[in-house]
């Protein structure tokens, strides 16, 4: 499986956006994985701890949102969510169908702390 390069991509994207936001630390990363994308969250999480070590993303929480597949029937134009293992149209039984959602694999957002926020948090916890 290719979860290692995928995890490196996640790190690269997160660090790039964090640098733009002048972040001191990345605390959370929100990732959307379509039901049809062949990505295993657990493996990404496993590699994450290794590839993010010694970066400002170390220890960041990965949040995975699985989104359902959505199909369009090319025969009757019905849109529907396919069942397990069968992608055929439930309305007319046609197998002339097209995937319109479920293959996505993207990062939607990150949550970061700026240096000031990190200092404020540390002061707060010291009180």
């Amino acid at each position: 499986m290719h979860e290692l390069p995928v995890t490196e991509s996640i790190l690269e994207i997160a660090l790039r956006y964090a640098a733009q936001a002048e972040a001191h630390r990345i605390t959370d990363i929100y990732i959307v994985i379509g039901q049809l994308a062949s990505i295993v969250d657990d493996s990404v999480q496993f590699y994450w701890d290794i590839v993010s070590a010694d970066t400002i993303a170390a220890g960041a929480r990965l949040h995975f949102e699985r989104t359902p597949a959505e199909m369009l029937c090319l025969s009757c134009q019905e849109t529907y969510q396919p069942g397990e293992g069968d992608l055929a149209c439930p309305a007319c039984g046609s197998r002339q169908v097209k995937v319109i959602a479920g293959e996505e694999f993207r990062m939607d957002a990150i949550e970061v702390e700026t240096l000031e926020e990190a200092r404020a948090r540390e002061l707060g916890s010291a009180e």
């Binding site: 499986m1 290719h2 390069p5 995928v6 991509s9 996640i10 690269e12 994207i13 997160a14 956006y17 964090a18 733009q20 936001a21 972040a23 605390t27 959370d28 929100y30 990732i31 049809l36 994308a37 062949s38 090319l74 293992g85 992608l87 055929a88 197998r95 002339q96 169908v97 097209k98 995937v99 293959e103 996505e104 694999f105 993207r106 990062m107 939607d108 957002a109 990150i110 949550e111 970061v112 702390e113 700026t114 926020e117 404020a120 948090r121």
Partner: protein, 221 residues
Amino acid sequence: MKERVQVVENIFSANDRLATENRARLDQHRVLGLNLMASPGAGKTSLIERTLAVLKEEMRVAVVDGDVATSIDADRAAAAGATAIQINTGGECHLDAVMLQGALRELPLASLDLLIVENVGNLICPASFSLGTHFSVLIASVPEGDDKPYKYPAMYRGVDALVINKIDLRPYVEFNLEYFQAGVEMLNPGLVTLPLSCRTGEGLEAWLAWVRGQLKELRHG
């Protein structure tokens, strides 16, 4: 206090950007790029040998071979008459656009017509990494079984042509062609399907005609 930063970026975007660059290089030199994908043992290298035997007389062909280790496949392609470059992925289960970019730098693109990329034998990972080639071709084979479209939908959904190799073995193995094709039709309606046998040569002419047709389209289309 945390600040939320909107990202909305495809995780594969870095690879996809490089794939676009690879395509531009191929287009610049009008070299037709084919990405051959299949499970191990389906006959990728055999199909390349069979293809070279005929097409090397008509066009200038290079082969880029992706493999976890060894140069066995590139050696076979070179012996069959192609300029061949081996990429050892060092454990990676697929080729990606960065690897192909490196290979393109080593190839004399200006004096080529056809580039065949032999991906790592795998029905899962190569589907996620575009290389920038013009067409993705999946080579299925009869002894693998007729359930493969159902088990590897992402691969079957993403390809532009499907070769079914080893059709000479149909009398000897369980392979329900109708069931197989129903699965393919569901995932990729109207997919160009080319049944053939690299061993007997049956059906090869249709495959060669498809390759010639795509090159012609690229040159004159």
